[in-house]
C-alpha cells in the first residue's frame, strides 16, 4: 500500500515534466511573443526596450536554458513575475485565485455527487416509469448542453423570470448558488447515468434476491445491499469529473464574474503570460494527478477485491 502510494507520487514527476515540456514547446513554437505589441496588455516598444525586457525576463537565453531555469525555480515554488500583471508574482495571484476555484469546484462536486446519486437511484428503482424519465432527461441535458449555455438559461430563469439569485459576483452565499448549480449539472448527469446503469445491474444480482428472500424491507435492500456494490464503478468516475469541473469552471467563472483561477487562465493565454500559463497548467496537472490517486485509493478501500 505504502509502496504503491510512493511509486504513484514518483510517477508524478516525469508526467509533470512531460506536461511542462509540451506546454513550453507549444508556447514557444508558435508565432508571437509577450513583447509583441499585439499581445493584450503589452505596449508598442522600441527594439532596444524589447531587448532589455527580454534580458530582464531571461527570454534572450536559448530555449533549453529557459526551460531548465524554469523547472529548477518551479520546483521551489517560484514561478516568477507575471508578464501581464507586472508587479505581482504568479505565486501570489495563484494563492489568491486558486482557493476560490477550489471552493466553487468542491461545492459543485458535492452537489453533483449528492444529486447524481439520488437521481440515479430513483431512476433505477422506478425503471421505465415517471422518475426514470425525469432523471434520464435531466442527465442527458446536463451532459449534452455546454455549461455556458446552461448558465444563460439559468440566469434567465432564476434571475429575471423569478428574481431569486443575482446574475454574478462572489460576495454572499446567494451569489454562490447559480455558478455552483451550473458547474454541477454536467457531472451530475454523468453520475446519474452511471449510478442508474450500475444499480440496475446490482438489483438483478443473486445477492439482492437473497436479501429480499430473507424478508428484508425495501429500504435496507436498496441502501445496504445494492447501493454499496453499485457505488464501486461510480467512484472511478470521480477522477475524470475533477478534470471536467476544473476546466468547466473557466466558463462559469467568466459568466458569473467569479474571481477564480479560470478567468486568469484565459487572460494569461491571450496575453502570452508565459510564467502564468505554465503555472496554471501545472497546478491543474498536480491537482488532477493527486485527485486521481485519492480516487484510486478510495476505490481500493471500497472494493476488497482490489489489492495494490
Amino acid at each position: 500500500m505504502f509502496q504503491y502510494i510512493v511509486s504513484r507520487l514518483l510517477w508524478l514527476v516525469p508526467t509533470l515534466l512531460a506536461m511542462a515540456l509540451v506546454t513550453f514547446l507549444v508556447m514557444h513554437a508558435t508565432p508571437g511573443s509577450p513583447l509583441d505589441p499585439v499581445a493584450e496588455g503589452a505596449n508598442p516598444l522600441s527594439p532596444e526596450a524589447q531587448k532589455n525586457l527580454a534580458a530582464h525576463y531571461g527570454l534572450d537565453k536559448p530555449l533549453w536554458q529557459q526551460f531548465v531555469i524554469f523547472v529548477s525555480k518551479a520546483a521551489r515554488g517560484d514561478f516568477g513575475f507575471s508578464f501581464v500583471y507586472k508587479t505581482r508574482t504568479v505565486a501570489e495571484i495563484l494563492r489568491e485565485t486558486f482557493p476560490v476555484s477550489l471552493f466553487l469546484g468542491s461545492m459543485a462536486l458535492v452537489l453533483a455527487v449528492a444529486g447524481g446519486l439520488s437521481l440515479g437511484i430513483l431512476a433505477a428503482i422506478h425503471q421505465n416509469r415517471g422518475w426514470d424519465y425525469v432523471s434520464v432527461s435531466l442527465a442527458t441535458v446536463g451532459v449534452a448542453v455546454p455549461n455556458f449555455v446552461l448558465a444563460v438559461f439559468l440566469i434567465i430563469l432564476f434571475s429575471f423570470a423569478i428574481p431569486l439569485f443575482p446574475t454574478g459576483g462572489w460576495d454572499s452565499p446567494r451569489d454562490w448558488v447559480l455558478p455552483t448549480v451550473t458547474l454541477a449539472l454536467a457531472p451530475m448527469g454523468i453520475i446519474a447515468r452511471f449510478t442508474r446503469a450500475s444499480m440496475l445491474e446490482v438489483i438483478r444480482a443473486d445477492y439482492t434476491l437473497t436479501a429480499r428472500a430473507k424478508g428484508l424491507a425495501e429500504a435496507p435492500v436498496i441502501f445496504k445491499h445494492a447501493l454499496k456494490n453499485a457505488l464501486i464503478p461510480v467512484v472511478t468516475l470521480l477522477g475524470p469529473l475533477f478534470a471536467a469541473v476544473g476546466t468547466g469552471s473557466f466558463f462559469v467563472e467568466t459568466i458569473f464574474r467569479v474571481p477564480g483561477m479560470g478567468r486568469f487562465f484565459v487572460l494569461s493565454m491571450t496575453g502570452r503570460d508565459y510564467p502564468m500559463i505554465m503555472a496554471v497548467v501545472l497546478t491543474y496537472g498536480v491537482f488532477l494527478a493527486v485527485m486521481n490517486l485519492v480516487v484510486d485509493l478510495t476505490y481500493g478501500a471500497l472494493d476488497p477485491r482490489i489489492r495494490y
Binding site: A144, P146, F148, V149, A151, I156, V266
Partner: protein, 291 residues
C-alpha cells in the same frame, strides 16, 4: 479470396449494417435527432440563400433591438440581423463538427492501427505518447493551442485535430490488438496476405463499429469545442458569426438585451441534444451489448 467466401463475407458484412440501420430507424428519439441534424446540414449548405440580409450588414439606426417584424430575432450591437448571423453560424458549427472529425480520424486511426498491429517497441513508444496526451485536460490544451495559433477556422481544425485523436487512437489500437489474434486473420495470413493489405482489408473493416460510434460522439464534441473557444474569444474570427461567440458577447449584456445570447444558446442546446440522441441511437444500434 475464393468467390464463395467473398460472397459470404459480403452478405454477413451488409447484414450487420442493415441490422443496425433497422434498429436505428425504430429508435424514435434518435430519428428525431437525425431529422434535426439533416435540417441543420441543409441550413448550413443553403445559408447564403436563406439569410434574409448579409450577416455583416450593419444598421446603425436600429441597434440591439428585440425581435420585431423586420428583424425576426432582433439585431446585435452593430445593428446586424441576428437571424442571418444564426443561419451562417449553423454553417460554421457543421463545418467544424464534420471537418475536425475527418482530421481526428485521419490522425487517430492510423496511429492506433499501426501501434496495435506492429506491437513491440513502436507500440510502447506510441502508447506512452498517447498516455501523456491523455493526461492533459483536453479543453485546456485546445485553448492553449488556439491562443498560440490565433483565432480562425483553419486553426480550430488544427487544434481539435491535434488534441482529439487520442481517444480514437486508443480505441483503434485495442480493436486491432484484439482482432490480430483471431482465426480469420490467421487464415488470411495463411493465404499469404501480408502487411498493409492484411491491416486494411481484413482487420480494420472489422474494427469499424467502435470507430463509427466514436465519430458520432466526436462531432458534437467538436461543435462544443468550437462554441467554447469562440465563447472565450479564441475561436472564430469576427465578423464571421459563430453561435458560441454570439453567446459569449451577448451574455455580458444579458440584463438589457436578453435576445442577443438566448437565441444562439437555444441553437447550441438543440444541436448538442440532437447529436447526443442520434449518437446514443447509433451506439445502441451497432452495439446492442453496450446498452
Amino acid at each position: 479470396m475464393p468467390p464463395i467466401a467473398r460472397a459470404a463475407a459480403a452478405t454477413r458484412g451488409t447484414s450487420l449494417w442493415r441490422d443496425g440501420l433497422r434498429r436505428l430507424l425504430r429508435n424514435r428519439l434518435a430519428m428525431a435527432g437525425g431529422v434535426v441534424i439533416v435540417l441543420l446540414c441543409l441550413i448550413a449548405i443553403f445559408a447564403d440563400v436563406l439569410m434574409p440580409l448579409p450577416y455583416t450588414k450593419p444598421n446603425f439606426e436600429r441597434l440591439n433591438e428585440p425581435p420585431s417584424r423586420s428583424y425576426p430575432l432582433g439585431t446585435d450591437a452593430l445593428g446586424r440581423d441576428l437571424l442571418s448571423r444564426m443561419i451562417y453560424g449553423a454553417r460554421i458549427s457543421m463545418l467544424v463538427g464534420l471537418g475536425a472529425q475527418l482530421l481526428v480520424v485521419a490522425i487517430g486511426v492510423p496511429i492506433g492501427a499501426i501501434s496495435g498491429y506492429l506491437g513491440g517497441r513502436t507500440d510502447v513508444i506510441l502508447t506512452r505518447f498517447i498516455d501523456v496526451m491523455y493526461a492533459f485536460p483536453r479543453l485546456l490544451f485546445v485553448i492553449l493551442v488556439m491562443s498560440m495559433l490565433g483565432a480562425g477556422l483553419l486553426n480550430i481544425f488544427i487544434a481539435i485535430g491535434l488534441t482529439g485523436w487520442v481517444g480514437i487512437a486508443r480505441q483503434t489500437r485495442a480493436q486491432v490488438l484484439a482482432l490480430k489474434g483471431k482465426e480469420f486473420v490467421d487464415a488470411a495470413r495463411g493465404l499469404g496476405v501480408r502487411g498493409g493489405r492484411l491491416l486494411l482489408r481484413h482487420i480494420l473493416p472489422n474494427a469499424l463499429t467502435p470507430i463509427v460510434v466514436s465519430v458520432t460522439f466526436g462531432i458534437p464534441e467538436a461543435i462544443f469545442t468550437e462554441a467554447a473557444l469562440s465563447f472565450i474569444g479564441v475561436g472564430i474570427n469576427p465578423p464571421t458569426p459563430s453561435w458560441g461567440q454570439m453567446v459569449g458577447e451577448g451574455q455580458q449584456f444579458i440584463r438589457s438585451y436578453w435576445h442577443l445570447c438566448v437565441f444562439p444558446a437555444i441553437a447550441i442546446a438543440i444541436t448538442m441534444l440532437s447529436f447526443t440522441f442520434f449518437g446514443d441511437g447509433v451506439r445502441d444500434a451497432l452495439d446492442p451489448k453496450m446498452k
